[in-house]
Each structure stands twice: as structure tokens, then as C-alpha cells.
């Protein structure tokens, strides 16, 4: 229960949830406010000189761990295989091999794998958003009698470890119960299971719950149908949370490995995560490195552009977990 205030604070982008929002505002408005270390502490010589030293050391550590591997990857992607194998810590390669990038693009067919990844990510995004907004709308706004049963059943799946459904889910894809067709080697096999995520639905429901009922009642009195209530009131008011769920879904499906490996055995349909380990066995190391670099470029750029929303979303995901 200690985690609940965090969620509210993070989700409280609706103006009505004023109380937690002000505490956060106060914090950012006065940067001089104290934390663990007080102003008096900051004047003590040990802290005054010790703190910057730790700061610099930690900064170096974070740069080496966070940016180092990416820079190394960039350098190696532009070097010859010889350079990579002989002197991995050389600061400058013997010559920049610009042709590695187009070679990787053509020979390793990174382009088509990246395309598959994008198709998978966008499809998962659409299916996830469709299921979790409509679902949360029923559970939070329409509130039918059987709503709590569904909420409970969704919540229950959150507590069960994912491993239990891996194999049966695979068998479900091979032959859909009742319908009888095989989804293997179709993108639906990745898009649809992604949408059955309890976490997204509960986050969305929690956000919808915070929308004041008076607004909904007012719209109803004005004669809005449920569909119109959904598209004209609830969805526009929930843009921040939709953005967060969208980002987390895209990055999640970009990172996924085991599931697409199982349901997309056809190399023509595989996303880059699945294709890379297979390709790596037959490609020389310099092309491998440029392929890895191309694979990492898009998520990193996406992250740097949307870092604020991202970090907020991740912080929130910690709050909701149980």
C-alpha cells in the first residue's frame, strides 16, 4: 500500500488531483530546498569538497556504463574486423570504414528486419491501446454489474508468473481454440497477446477513475452516447497516460525476443532482435557491429527525444506493481 501515493502523484496530471500535484510543484519551484543534506551540512568542508568528488566519480561511472558501450559500438561499426579483434580498446581505428553501414544494410538486410520490428511495434501499440482504453472505459466509467468480476480476473493475472502460460500460449497460436486457424508466421501472433497485459489496463483504469464523475454526468445529461463519451471526453482527457502506455509498449515490443522467436520462424517476418543472433553466426564482425549499431540507434534516439515521458512512465510502473 505504501506504493499507492506514488502512482497518484505521477498520474495526477488532471487538474482536479491538486493535492499531490502541489507537493511536487513546490519541490521543483524551489530548487534550493534541502534534501537529506542540509545547507549547514553543505558548508562543512568534508561535504563541501567530498560531495563534488563523489559526484564526478559517479558521473564518470555512469558515462562509462551508459554511453561507453554505445560509443564503442559506433567506433567498431566503422572499423575493419581486424581492428575490432586486435585492439578493442584503441581509441581511433586505422581508418573509418563508412561502407560498413550500407554493407550491413544490404548484405544483412537490416532494413527489412527493422521494418518488421516497426510493424510489430506499431501493431502491438494499436492493439494494446485499443484493448486497454475500451476495457478501462467499461470498468471505470460504464461500471456494469459484472465489472468487478472482470477487474478481479484481470488483476489476478498480474500475480501469476508469466512462465505458466508460455507453452500453452504457443499452442494457442498454433491452433486458435474454437476458430481453429493457425496464427504462426503472421504478425497477429505478436500483436494480439501483447494486448492482454493486465498492467496497462489497470494503469488506464486508475487514470480514468480520477476523472471527476461530474464531468461524465454532465456529458450524459447533454445527451452524449457512450461512444461519444469515450471519444470526445475520456480519450482527450487521458492523453498523458495514453502516451506513457504507448511508449512503454513500443519499447517493450522492440526489446522482446523469446516470443517472436517462437511464433515467427519465417526469417522474412522476423524482427531485428530475433534476426541478429542468427545473422551474427554467418557475418563478419565489423558488419555485425554496424548491424548492432543500426539496431540500437532508433530506440536510443526515441528515448533521448521522449526522455521525460519515459522516465515518468517507468517511475510510475514501479508504483503500480502490487
Amino acid at each position: 500500500m505504501t506504493s499507492l501515493p506514488i502512482i497518484e502523484e505521477q498520474v495526477a496530471t488532471t487538474p482536479e488531483e491538486a493535492a499531490p500535484a502541489t507537493t511536487r510543484k513546490r519541490r521543483t519551484a524551489e530548487p534550493q530546498e534541502r534534501g537529506i543534506i542540509s545547507h549547514a551540512d553543505r558548508r562543512r568542508p568534508l561535504v563541501q569538497y567530498g560531495l563534488p568528488v563523489i559526484e564526478v566519480l559517479l558521473f564518470i561511472g555512469v558515462v562509462v556504463a551508459g554511453v561507453g558501450p554505445l560509443l564503442w559500438l559506433l567506433k567498431s561499426g566503422l572499423s575493419t574486423s581486424q581492428d575490432i579483434l586486435r585492439g578493442p580498446m584503441q581509441l581511433w581505428p586505422s581508418g573509418i570504414q563508412w561502407q560498413n553501414i550500407p554493407n550491413a544494410w544490404n548484405q544483412v538486410q537490416i532494413g527489412s528486419y527493422l521494418g518488421n520490428t516497426a510493424i510489430i511495434a506499431i501493431g502491438s501499440l494499436i492493439s494494446t491501446l485499443f484493448v486497454c482504453t475500451t476495457g478501462a472505459f467499461v470498468l471505470s466509467v460504464l461500471r456494469p454489474k459484472w465489472g468487478p468480476v472482470i477487474t478481479g480476473a484481470v488483476l489476478a493475472t498480474l500475480f501469476l508468473p508469466g512462465v505458466i502460460s508460455l507453452v500453452p500460449l504457443y499452442l494457442t497460436i498454433l491452433k486458435m481454440p474454437v476458430l481453429g486457424f493457425n496464427l504462426q508466421n503472421t504478425f497477429w501472433a505478436v500483436w494480439l497477446p501483447q494486448a492482454a497485459g493486465a498492467f496497462n489496463i489497470l494503469v488506464m483504469k486508475r487514470y480514468f477513475d480520477a476523472i471527476p464523475r461530474e464531468l461524465i454526468e454532465a456529458a450524459r445529461i447533454d445527451g452524449a452516447s457512450n461512444l461519444r463519451l469515450f471519444t470526445a471526453l475520456i480519450l482527450p482527457m487521458s492523453k498523458p497516460i495514453i502516451g506513457v502506455v504507448a511508449l512503454l509498449t513500443v519499447i517493450g515490443s522492440w526489446k522482446d525476443y523469446l516470443w517472436p522467436l517462437l511464433v515467427l520462424p519465417d526469417p522474412k517476418m522476423q524482427p531485428i532482435s530475433v534476426a541478429l543472433p542468427r545473422v551474427a553466426q554467418t557475418t563478419e564482425i565489423s558488419l555485425q557491429m554496424s548491424a548492432l549499431f543500426l539496431a540500437v540507434l532508433i530506440p536510443v534516439v526515441l528515448f533521448l527525444v521522449f526522455q521525460k515521458q519515459f522516465l515518468r512512465g517507468v517511475g510510475m510502473s514501479g508504483g503500480i506493481k502490487e
Partner: protein
């Protein structure tokens, strides 16, 4: 589905029409995507998993009931003790490596007024690198030759060279090191979000009582966020018990089965031997262990987290 259809059917014609006009139908239409996807891809597979674990199923012959024999087969598999031990070892190492680092990082970042976001972004970068890319990259870092990246860096200090992934002793710690690198940033962000909820008045009060900086961290910060710390620890345990991608791609379970985890065994049962019954039996057992673990953990820590 029974719940959905009973509501209109059990009522008389007149109340059916009022139900229809008051939007009862549209709530069913709106609920349909959720109910269908969960039936097919969440609730269905969970139930099916329980059923499958009592069946012999290889997709070729028709499934037949075999009672507990899948479970006894799985439990007597000579590979299971090794895999269990490896999984526990992974979980333990991941806890030792991966638990203090993000916590320290978060507490420190929360003390930085203007540059905190930069540390934040930089330490989260590894988490956006797709795991497969990270693993292939680290595999090259772990090159066992003297010119491998880690070996040449350690060579500057006269240490090594190590065999890393080729050595049964070092393979698992090497994998955990990569996993920690990949996961620490995300965990730190979650702690940071929790730290913004700690009220500054508490630090002031502690300072007035004469508590130094370390004692303030230990007696105020940590207890204030212990709820989230406990949950993150449990989630990390549950996650590490189900680790697959790292050992699968780094070593494939080798050398000498030193990195074969339980999920790798499940994968082999199902997708190499085609024995789906055994695979689900082991999955069900693992899920059961994790559920018991969560409950025990909850009761063990409840007293500590509510005081």
C-alpha cells in the same frame, strides 16, 4: 462469457428494453476486446497450462491423460538439480550485484539539484538497448583471448586474462554482470519516484535530533521507501527465477551446463524435444514455487513494512 449473457437473459422483456436503452449493450461491446483477448491469450492459456501438465502432448498424436507422470518425469530429470542450483545462484548474484547499485544511485541522484536529470538519462540508457543487442555486444566484450575488451582493460592492471563465458566458474557471474548493467537504470528510476514522496520535514527533524548524513539515509530515507524496496526485491526475485534470454544467447546453457536455468530446461522440453506436457508441468511447478515464495515473503516482511 456466461456472466455477460446472463444479465439480459434472466430479466423480463420490459427490463430488457430499459437495459438496452440505458447502455447495457454498449458496455458489452466495449468490454468485448478486453474479454476476448484475455480469454484467448491470458485466462485461457493459464487454465490450459494446468490441463496440459496432466497430458501427454507432442502435437502429433492426440493428447492423452497421464496423471502425475509428467511431474514425476520432470522432478526425476537428472538435469533439474543442476538447473535449480544455477537459477538460485543467478538470483543470489543478481541480488548481490543488482540490489545496492540502483538504490545508491537513486539516493544520490535525488540529492543533486540541477544535474540529477543527466545522471538519470545516462544511467537509464542501457535499459533502452534491446537485450539481444546488448548480449551480442557483451559477448564480444567477454572475448576470452588476451585482446578481448575486458581482458585487455584488466591486462593494464596485470590481471587476467580470464576465460569469462568459457569458464564454468565465471560464466554465471559474467551473465549477471551484464543483466545488472541492463537493469540498474530502470530500477533506480523507480526508487527515485518513490524518493520524491519522502517529506523533507523528516530530515529536518532527524537533523535537529543530531543525526548525521549517513544516519539520516539509514534511519529516514531507507525506512520511508522500504515498501517499494521490498516490492522491487520480490519482483527482482520473480524475474530472475524466470531468466531466459541472457543464458540462452550468451552460452546456450554451457559450459558444462553451468548456466542452464529452469526456463532453459522448459524451452528444451517444449521446443527441442517437443514434449509439451513435461514443459508445462515444469512451468506449473516453477509458478507454484514463485507463488509460495511471494506469499511467504509477504508474511515475513509484513511486520517490518507496516511499523
Amino acid at each position: 462469457m456466461a456472466v455477460l449473457t446472463r444479465t439480459p437473459a434472466s430479466q423480463s422483456g420490459r427490463s430488457l428494453s430499459t437495459w438496452f436503452r440505458s447502455g447495457g449493450l454498449s458496455s458489452i461491446v466495449f468490454a468485448l476486446p478486453l474479454v476476448l483477448t484475455f480469454l484467448y491469450f491470458s485466462w485461457g492459456p493459464i487454465v490450459r497450462g494446468l490441463v496440459l501438465s496432466f497430458q501427454k502432448n507432442n502435437l502429433v498424436t492426440t493428447p492423452e491423460w497421464v496423471g502425475w507422470s509428467n511431474f514425476s518425469y520432470v522432478l526425476t530429470d537428472p538435469q533439474l538439480p543442476q538447473a535449480t542450483q544455477n537459477t538460485l545462484y543467478f538470483a543470489l548474484l543478481a541480488l548481490i550485484f543488482g540490489f545496492p547499485v540502483p538504490l545508491f544511485l537513486a539516493v544520490f541522484i535525488s540529492e543533486l539539484r540541477s544535474t540529477g536529470w543527466l545522471y538519470n538519462v545516462l544511467s537509464y540508457l542501457p535499459a533502452v538497448v534491446p537485450p539481444v543487442v546488448a548480449i551480442l555486444l557483451w559477448k564480444i566484450f567477454y572475448d576470452p583471448g588476451t585482446s578481448g575488451l575486458f581482458n585487455s582493460v584488466l591486462g593494464w592492471f596485470g590481471i587476467g586474462p580470464f576465460a569469462w563465458l568459457n569458464s564454468p566458474d565465471l560464466a554465471m557471474p559474467a551473465i549477471v554482470l551484464e543483466a545488472t548493467w541492463a537493469g540498474a537504470g530502470a530500477t533506480a528510476i523507480i526508487y527515485l519516484a518513490a524518493l520524491t514522496g519522502v517529506r523533507n520535514e523528516l530530515y529536518e527533524a532527524a537533523e535537529l535530533d543530531g543525526a548525521g548524513i549517513w544516519r539520516r539515509v539509514w534511519h529516514v530515507t531507507i525506512p520511508q521507501i522500504r515498501g517499494i524496496i521490498l516490492i522491487m526485491m520480490l519482483l527482482q526475485l520473480i524475474g530472475t527465477f524466470q531468466v531466459f534470454t541472457e543464458p540462452f544467447l550468451f552460452t546456450g546453457g554451457g559450459p558444462d551446463n553451468a548456466t542452464t536455468t529452469i526456463l532453459l530446461l522448459i524451452y528444451r522440453y517444449a521446443f527441442i524435444n517437443g514434449d509439451f506436457g513435461a514443459a508445462t508441468a515444469l512451468s506449473v511447478l516453477l509458478a507454484l514455487v514463485l507463488c509460495v515464495l511471494s506469499v511467504v515473503y509477504h508474511f515475513l516482511t509484513r511486520r517490518w513494512s507496516t511499523t
